[in-house]
């Protein structure tokens, strides 16, 4: 694979740089636009260099948001998003690890049937089942609550499936050795299976956290009380709410702050995350 072909090298670099630029440019625009005074955007021209009002804009967004349009301060929405994303992530992981454990290690009637039922729900994205789910959540009185925000999104076929695939690669002899060593199913789960899957769980954690953080449609539907707005839907409210022009500088500051937590999660979990995707300790 180690070849030196200048033309191929150049071509692939051009393609890659173009791709990177395509992805990075919007983020650049958001960062550049956030420190400008409100007047800049009224001219309809997007600036390409940063403005002078960084501190002030971010402080306004953080503490006030766009109160006249009914959006709460960013700090509150960030907190809501964090609670929702963590609840979804931890809930998903807990449920999928336990159900994968059941499916892989226990022989119970209709095991395969249950596996396929779980697997089938993979094919139904949130949008498809959103109306009945909304009805259920509304009937249970969970509108405008953290429970309503997170519980319907916790059930996850994807995570169950991935954890199952990992469990199946763990040699069966380990389970047998544990049985001979006097470890019951739960002890085996705790002492051997979980420590072995820690890197995979970390990888899933990152993916699920971003999934939870980026939820847009669901929070938009079930929250009417600004107290429970999450950041991703809050951005939309900031743009459309109120009579005046959108305050783009505040919107952009919000966007930048909304993008930060997932980036931080990836940075902190990167070592485990990459390990989990590439290697397993077996």
């Amino acid at each position: 694979m180690v070849e030196n072909r200048p033309l191929g090298n150049l071509l692939s670099h051009v393609v890659l740089i173009f791709g990177v630029a395509l992805v990075v440019f919007p983020i650049y625009v958001a960062i550049i636009a956030s420190p400008h005074p409100p007047g800049t955007f009224l001219r309809g021209v997007m600036p390409l260099l940063p403005g002078p009002n960084a501190l002030e804009n971010y402080r306004t967004a953080w503490t006030e948001g766009r109160s006249r349009a009914g959006t709460p301060p960013i700090s509150l929405m960030l907190t809501n998003s964090l609670i929702m994303a963590l609840a979804i992530t931890i809930g998903k992981l807990a449920i999928s690890i336990i159900s994968a454990f059941a499916i892989v290690y226990f022989r119970f009637p209709f095991r395969i049937f249950f596996f396929w039922i779980i697997f089938l729900t993979l094919m139904l994205p949130v949008e498809v089942r959103i109306v009945p789910t909304f009805q259920v959540v509304a009937d249970l009185g969970m509108l405008n609550s953290y429970a309503g925000l997170s519980i319907p999104l916790i059930a996850s076929a994807t995570a169950t499936f991935l954890v199952r695939q990992f469990f199946m690669t763990v040699p069966e002899e380990l389970m047998e050795a544990a049985r001979v060593d006097g470890a019951g199913p739960m002890k085996f789960f705790r002492d051997i299976l979980l420590p072995l899957s820690i890197t995979n769980i970390a990888a899933l954690f990152v993916i699920m956290f971003i999934y939870g953080w980026n939820q847009y449609l669901w929070p938009l539907l079930i929250t009417t009380d600004p107290e429970y707005y999450t950041i991703v839907m809050g951005i939309q409210r900031m743009v459309t709410g109120g009579d005046s022009e959108p305050l783009w500088h505040l919107v952009m500051a919000t966007v930048v702050m909304a993008a930060l937590p997932p980036v931080l999660v990836i940075l902190f979990m990167q070592r485990l995350f990459v390990k989990g995707l590439t290697e397993t300790e077996k």
Binding site: G182, A183, P195, L196
Partner: protein, 350 residues
């Protein structure tokens, strides 16, 4: 310390596949019994039934003075060494050894003592803090042995423990396992497909085929008096030559066969019982052509074809004969070296 009694054991898998049938076997306290057979003969299944990792479909299994059919592996007072060692990859060697003891609520100082003792016995004391992946194949094998040792069980079960080692290490570990077993005097059941391993290690050998016992006996017993054509072909390398009695008679060996039962229509001859030098009168004499000469150092294998041009035989000599391939030669074997079998049933006669 315990004896094992297998009383008419059967194993039928959910799909209806019969893995093991009619196993009647008594293993004395302290005995080293080797289960040997080709792959798929049910030897591992039988071992796993003793371990409790496979359910017993029918029959009764007794270890010591308890019927253990319904007991979990951990309650059977056994320890098992797996083919791929099955060490816990995230635990240090010490913890690998200690895990089973902790689960049994053995006190800390006692765990410490037993682990150190087993580690010293197996010369893995220097690796106790390492993870399994930092060890070589041979060292892992020792750790797997150690995990069985520290438990001080009534029975050791070995499931092809040496098959992942290189040839040299295998010979060395073979000797060590055997010595260890002698020293501890623990009843052991050992599964292998390697007939040499089986011959050298066993107090008693159990040859399995198609889920049934073909023969039980001391290694030399099984070797010198194979009960069936299957055992005759499986134990010994190169395998025993099988010749139709009619062929021998047609070639002027009626005299040599006169001492055998009349219904012996198949005759076995071990490669090392055949020579190029004339034997006492009444022996077998066969004309053959040399197809291939295989010098293997201490011995030489001759692949020959009898005068009929079809029947092939193997001859094992302790020297390299001055022959070239394609040469005609005369083979001799004493009448006493003939193993008479009945072709249809495959059973030994006499």
């Amino acid at each position: 310390m315990a004896a094992i009694v297998m009383d008419n054991l059967h194993k039928v898998y959910a799909g209806g596949v019969r893995a093991v049938s009619d196993i009647m076997l008594d293993i004395a306290d302290g005995e080293f019994v080797v289960l040997v057979g080709p792959s798929g003969c049910g030897k591992s299944t039988l071992l796993r039934m003793v371990a409790g990792l496979e359910t017993i479909t029918e029959g009764r299994l007794t270890i010591g003075d308890r019927v253990v059919n319904a007991l979990e592996p951990a309650e059977r007072d056994i320890a098992m060494v797996f083919q791929n060692y099955a060490l816990y990859p995230h635990m240090s060697v010490f913890n690998n050894l200690a895990y089973g003891l902790r689960n049994r609520g053995v006190l800390k100082p006692e765990i410490e003592r037993r682990v150190r003792e087993a580690a010293a016995m197996l010369e893995i004391g220097a690796f106790l803090d390492r993870k399994p992946r930092q060890l070589s194949g041979g060292q892992r094998q020792r750790v797997a042995m150690g995990r069985a040792l520290v438990r001080e069980p009534a029975v050791f079960l070995f499931d092809e423990p040496l098959s992942n080692l290189d040839a040299k290490l295998r010979v060395q570990m073979r000797v060590e396992i055997k010595q260890l077993q002698r020293r501890l005097g623990t009843t052991s059941l050992y599964v292998t497909h390697d007939q040499l391993e089986a011959m050298t290690m066993a107090d008693r050998l159990v040859v399995l085929n198609g889920g049934r016992i073909e023969q039980v006996g001391t290694p030399m017993d099984v070797y010198s008096r194979p009960a069936t054509t299957f055992v005759a072909g499986f134990i010994g390398s190169p395998a025993m030559n099988m010749l139709p009695a009619s062929l021998l008679r047609a070639n002027g060996n009626a005299d040599a066969l006169s001492g055998l039962p009349g219904n012996a229509d198949l005759v076995g001859l071990r490669p090392e019982d055949i020579g190029l030098d004339a034997v006492a009168p009444g022996g077998v004499r066969l004309q053959a052509r040399l197809d291939l000469l295989e010098p293997a150092g201490a011995e030489t294998h001759l692949h020959v074809r009898l005068i009929d041009g079809k029947t092939r035989m193997t001859v094992r000599l302790s020297h390299v004969p001055g022959l070239t391939e394609g040469a005609d030669l005369v083979l001799h074997a004493p009448a006493a070296a003939l193993h008479p079998f009945e072709a249809e049933s495959g059973h030994r006669l006499l």
